[in-house]
């Protein structure tokens, strides 16, 4: 039973345009969400996070939006660059459990072409 879903396995975008990666979750108890980026042959690296008390968090070209009622979050990358080509994982966790165990989605491969 996949609690965190990324329904698009891949996305292709032209350089300079916006990339929108989507993530849905089923457990309404999740209250902390993260996006990780992974290049081939490397471990995932943390990109941006958001807690459920917010609906938006920005960091440079990256913005994460959270829609709690829809149990949906999205990552916007503007403008997209070829170096953003990677697999992106969303993850969800429970802040109030005292222990941060994350549930990861299946990933979306982003390809940004020049």
């Amino acid at each position: 039973d996949q609690q965190v879903k990324q329904n698009s396995p891949s996305l292709s975008v032209q350089e300079g345009r916006i990339s929108i990666l989507n993530c849905d979750y089923t457990n309404s108890m999740f209250d902390y969400f993260l996006w990780y980026k992974k290049y081939p042959a490397e471990g995932p690296t943390f990109l941006i996070s958001i807690s459920s008390i917010k609906d938006k968090n920005e960091d440079g070209r990256f913005t994460v939006f959270l829609n709690k009622s829809a149990k949906h979050l999205s990552l916007h990358i503007v403008p997209s660059q070829p170096g953003d080509s990677a697999v992106y994982f969303c993850a969800a966790g429970l802040l109030n459990t005292g222990f941060q165990k994350l549930v990861f989605g299946t990933g979306t491969r982003l390809l940004v072409s020049p």
């Binding site: 965190v4 990324q6 396995p9 902390y32 993260l34 990780y36 042959a41 490397e42 471990g43 995932p44 690296t45 943390f46 996070s49 807690s51 994982f89 993850a91 966790g93 802040l95 005292g98 222990f99 941060q100 165990k101 994350l102 549930v103 990861f104 989605g105 299946t106 990933g107």
Partner: protein, 114 residues
Amino acid sequence: DVKVTQSSRYLVKRTGEKVFLECVQDMDHENMFWYRQDPGLGLRLIYFSYDVKMKEKGDIPEGYSVSREKKERFSLILESASTNQTSMYLCASSFPSGGGDTQYFGPGTRLTVL
């Protein structure tokens, strides 16, 4: 910078062999995790540890065990390797904080079981 290192980048073993994967972090993190990453399945948690000598099963612990004798080191053990354990293995660590834990990942070990 947080550094998480894994003992091998690539490993080839035979069915039935005992396999040790080692992970070391240098940031005095309390929590450590072992995941495996498979195409279409994302990152799945095998085991985690929140303190020395403490361990908890993740979502797919069957066929694996772990050891945490020192805070900085977390080992994953495949008692009798099987071909369905061919995968990318990722270690992560985090420091528990009230604001939400960010997990930091090692580079991964690509294990092939023949």
